[in-house]
């Protein structure tokens, strides 16, 4: 095994610039796991920006992976729009969760106000982590979607899904307000740090085909997503990390259309769930975009080191064929309870099987 020629971070930058790094970069999508590694309750990772940044930085340093600290969670939206979330301080919990939705009735929809990002829910925490990243020469990451996941957290997923059939006009009203908010967030971050130092991160489970049809994606997700992406690209953001969470195979044509309608501007990093074969992603985006993927996340928690190493090897062998670059990662967040040796398996797999000639 030859020595690494590049430092963590340099490797990732090389891929994003369309160059070949020394070996495949590793981005293990680590949040709660970092808290565990440094001996903090997972809740601190989402409530204390200083501790969160330091935990993520130390975790990356210890393992030697390439991605940098960020902030985000799937229950986003409720707190920002006036509801309440709880933080994962109890056994079994791994991420913030909604306690009270700001929309509980039809009347609440009209009362719902688009908040100022500067003091909306978790945005100040995300901003503080982004400031520390910026000060360390790392990219400032901000959350830019997905709209329907935000809407689901604002009105509760069951209400959202039922209203998509019964009262679609109310769902659209909420989605429109989310769109406004996300564009305001993007303006806040890009005006603070400069668009060239920002990465937009979008993802969410409610868009998954486990819940909604591609037709519903077309109606309730795509128009908002397209407008948000166009605005963000217009602001000058060059990198968008898009995480279509869980099984979104049937939404693939819409993601492809998004890139086409945005003129393939910027560099997208696609991190689909493990349900989506790398070959499908390469066929759709390979000419322009980076593929980050997409080892089955629970495997990191319950499989042996040898098994995880093999899964990473197989992922590398398939992903490295992407002409516009590939990053090794899980298909969703790294399980917080994964044994550290299985995170190391990613680094080892990259060193042993991911060298560029």
């Amino acid at each position: 095994m030859s020595a690494d020629r590049m430092k963590p971070g340099e490797r990732l930058v090389a891929v994003l610039m369309g160059q070949k790094p020394d070996r495949v970069p590793v981005s293990p999508f680590i949040l709660g796991y970092a808290a565990k590694i440094v001996g903090l309750p997972i809740g601190d990772l989402y409530t204390d920006p200083k501790k969160s940044f330091r935990a993520q930085l130390l975790c990356a340093e210890m393992h030697g992976y390439d991605s940098s600290p960020m902030y985000g969670y799937a229950a986003v939206g409720a707190w920002e729009f006036g509801g309440k979330v709880g933080f994962p301080y109890e056994p079994g919990q791994s991420a913030p969760y909604v306690i009270k939705e700001p929309v509980e009735s039809e009347e609440d929809v009209d009362r719902l106000e688009v908040p100022d990002p500067k003091n909306a829910g978790s945005v100040p925490i995300a901003m503080e982590i982004a400031r520390q990243c910026y000060a360390s020469g790392l990219p400032a990451v901000f959350q830019s979607g997905e709209v329907l996941t935000y809407a689901g957290n604002i009105m509760g997923p069951t209400r959202l899904l039922t209203w998509m059939i019964r009262k679609p006009e109310l769902v659209h009203k909420v989605c429109k307000k989310v769109e406004e908010f996300l564009i305001a967030c993007a303006e806040y971050f890009t005006s603070t740090f400069g668009a060239d130092r920002c990465i937009a991160f979008a993802g969410g489970p409610i868009e998954s085909n486990k819940l909604i049809s591609p037709k519903q994606f077309e109606e309730f997700v795509y128009p908002y997503m397209l407008r948000i992406h166009r605005k963000i690209l217009d602001m000058g953001v060059q990198i968008i990390l898009e995480h279509p969470c869980a099984d979104q195979n049937k939404n693939m044509p819409w993601y492809r259309k998004l890139r086409e309608e945005c003129g393939w501007r910027g560099k997208y990093v696609w991190n689909f769930g493990p349900e989506t074969p790398l070959e499908t992603q390469i066929a759709q985006f390979g000419e322009h975009d980076v593929i980050m993927g997409n080892v089955d996340p629970p495997s990191f928690q319950f499989r042996s080191f040898e098994e995880v190493l093999l899964l990473c090897k197989e992922n590398i062998e398939r992903g490295i064929k992407n002409p516009s670059g590939y990053i090794l990662g899980p298909g969703c967040e790294m399980p917080p309870l994964a044994p550290p040796i299985n995170v190391y398996a990613m680094i080892k797999a990259s060193r042993e099987y991911g060298r560029y000639g």
């Binding site: 109890e90 056994p91 079994g92 919990q93 791994s94 899904l161 819940l211 909604i212 399980p335």
Partner: protein
């Protein structure tokens, strides 16, 4: 006329049309159709079709939730007219989302499909402590205990619950499901069954019960 009413009930459950469903339920009673037959041959048949369509990717959760609304609206009309001797003793299922986990869409779909299939569901809700599963199974004499989890941090409680149940209620069938679970993991946890979604849960439950000579 009976066939037309029952088919009307089935169709309006599938299309999620609450008003029509209630109308057909009332017409069923007016026509002297037994309430139990209307539920089983009308509403439950509709939900069974919904379940099939969900498995085939022809229906998604928003449509299922509307079908459920329609079915429950019809059941509200029909249930007061049930003759107890026709109903028999339904199979009991204790169902819940394990500790630390509040994601209950999947569990709610399983509950809905199971009720439509004639099971009696004792829904413990979400973020359920281990001991509550065991207590409920013992108290209710449940045939099945179904556990759901969406988080890798919460699914770790499942083997503890299963172990406890194997000791205290060995006849109870244990089933697990949810995003991070798999057949392999279910086996490793000692569960009797695994279902990848709500539609599969009914099939697996019936199969396991029939193996035990109970369905």
């Amino acid at each position: 006329m009976k066939e037309e009413i029952l088919r009307g009930l089935t169709d309006s459950v599938v299309s999620g049309d609450v008003e029509k469903c209630v109308q057909y339920a009332k017409r069923a009673l007016e026509a002297g159709i037994d309430a139990y037959e209307a539920i089983m041959e009308g509403c439950a048949r509709g939900m069974s079709l919904v379940s099939e369509k969900y498995e085939k990717g022809e229906m998604y959760v928003p449509e299922i939730l509307c079908s459920a609304e329609a079915m429950y609206a019809a059941m509200d009309v029909l249930k007061p007219h049930l003759k107890t001797e026709r109903v028999g003793t339904p199979r009991k299922v204790v169902l819940g989302v394990v500790r630390g986990d509040i994601h209950d869409i999947g569990k709610n779909l399983v509950k809905l499909m199971m009720e439509a299939a004639g099971f009696q569901v004792i829904d413990l809700g979400r973020d359920v402590p281990n001991e509550r599963f065991v207590e409920a199974v013992l108290k209710e004499g449940a045939d099945i205990c179904g556990m759901s989890a969406l988080m890798t941090t919460s699914m770790i409680f499942m083997p503890e619950i299963i172990r406890e149940l194997k000791q205290k209620a060995p006849a109870t069938i244990t089933m697990v499901g949810g995003g991070p679970l798999s057949q392999e993991l279910a086996k490793a946890y000692g569960a009797d069954g695994y279902a990848k979604d709500a539609a599969a849960a009914i099939r697996v439950a019936k199969e396991l019960l029939s193996r035990r000579g109970g369905m």
